[in-house]
Symmetry: C2
Subunit: 264 residues, 2 copies
């Protein structure tokens, strides 16, 4: 039987809330088995952009990354957020290592085509190219990888990358060796039929149900790529995907995507 490994994705703005961060990391540390953390950072990047007088350009909810913005997001994601999380994990005795996709060539990516929209220095990783052997070497040494959402093109350019996609890619690449569980943490309890009512939580969801919720407009915006990544992860070998609030990772209460194989 394969050993368990959890890949947990959180937003980066948690770094701005020391108590929430410490409480989440303490839960994260208690998760059974090997683990990997992936963090975003968009909110803090936009805040820092304002401070530096840089304009934030978004198209369809995604950041346009020109060279100045690439510098900014690399500083915020790979620098401040990543190292602050690792320092907070070290404090509680969790031996973490902060990584981006360029380190040890862990996540090579391809710069996105400028057609139909030129997103600039933005890349998409290919899960089959991930350096899974080095990642499992770290895991076997009891070291917890903490990823920011920066990758590279192999030709000297760093690339801004969607953190949900990093989490999907890493989970998929590790699912060959491990029984992999992917947790997408966000600010709600999971997928809600009514955004204002936590009781309307959708406990399980098939891909067909997801499609009809999309058509009803209940699944919209940033939730769409999260769910697309989730079903792709399941199709490619990830055992279980749960979308939930960061405070619930130990109970696992949230939206469990079916197709997920629940092994007890």
């Amino acid at each position: 039987m394969k050993e368990k490994l959890s890949v947990v994705k959180i937003g980066g703005n948690i770094v701005d809330h020391p108590e929430a961060l410490q409480s989440f990391l303490s839960d994260f540390k208690q998760l059974e088995g090997r683990k990997v953390l992936v963090h975003g950072g968009g909110v803090m990047a936009s805040k820092m952009a304002r401070q530096m007088g840089l304009e934030t350009k978004m198209v369809q909810g995604r950041r346009i990354t020109d060279s100045e913005t690439l510098k900014l997001v690399t500083m915020v994601y790979a620098g401040w957020i990543n190292k602050s999380i690792v320092a907070a994990l070290q404090k509680i005795g969790c031996n973490a290592i902060g990584l981006s996709g360029v380190d040890a060539n862990l996540i090579p990516a391809v710069r996105r085509s400028p057609e139909p929209i030129d997103y600039g220095f933005v890349g998409d990783p290919d899960p089959t190219q991930i350096n899974a052997s080095f990642l499992s070497q770290l895991a076997e040494s009891g070291i917890v990888p903490v990823f920011c959402a920066i990758t590279h093109d192999g030709n000297g350019s760093l690339l801004n990358t969607n953190a949900d996609t990093i989490a999907y890619s890493v989970a998929t690449a590790l699912s060959e060796k491990y029984e992999t569980i992917l947790y997408y943490c966000f600010e709600k309890e999971g997928v809600l039929r009514d955004l204002n009512d936590p009781q309307s939580l959708v406990l399980t969801m098939t891909q067909e149900e997801c499609e009809s919720l999309k058509q009803e407009g209940i699944v919209a915006d940033g939730m769409i790529p999260k769910l697309d990544n989730s079903f792709r992860a399941i199709a490619q070998g990830v055992s279980k995907v749960i979308i939930l609030h960061a405070t619930n990772i130990l109970t696992g209460r949230g939206t469990l995507l079916s197709g997920s194989v629940v092994k007890e």
Copy 2:
């Protein structure tokens, strides 16, 4: 016989000069044996501080690091400079990994006493506490560690640390297992008797000669901690320390500190 390992320290401003960076990294890649790179970044941090409207406070050539400055230097050193260098190394087929002292608890440090001068979030590493076994595990896997000058106190705080001291500490910690050579690259050919005359290069220097050059005022300012770190490194097991221009690392032409054991 021990295997060779080189620890090379460069300034961080080289990242602002793509051609000089590429040429240096291509030389670095050709250095025989295992290697580790350590980079600074003070010039770029001061530039970024101006852009963000932060005041740079220096006392005796050292930066006072309040919490906003700590955030800034972590962004610049661990984020932009570190990942840019790693991306440039990956481009030329050198499998590098970007690290700070907090990652895998590689370089624990102690926050400097606020007496007589309160430098803020500034730390000094203890070479005996460095995680040398993980570093040599990386080296044996053919992975090249690239260090920025950020460490941590083990209690959740990142610490700004002198990059020369990081290089000294890492070289010293690795000298038990490897025949370690420490290269301090800077903007001159080495120690010069006359700063305006490259022909006045001091080819070798004992600790006594160093003391008298200090008294003559020929060795001054930033060169003093560099030389103090160098002689400390030699006393603690580093085989060879050379102070030289970054363009000369393959020839090794510069100031060789004696006490250095030259093994051919």
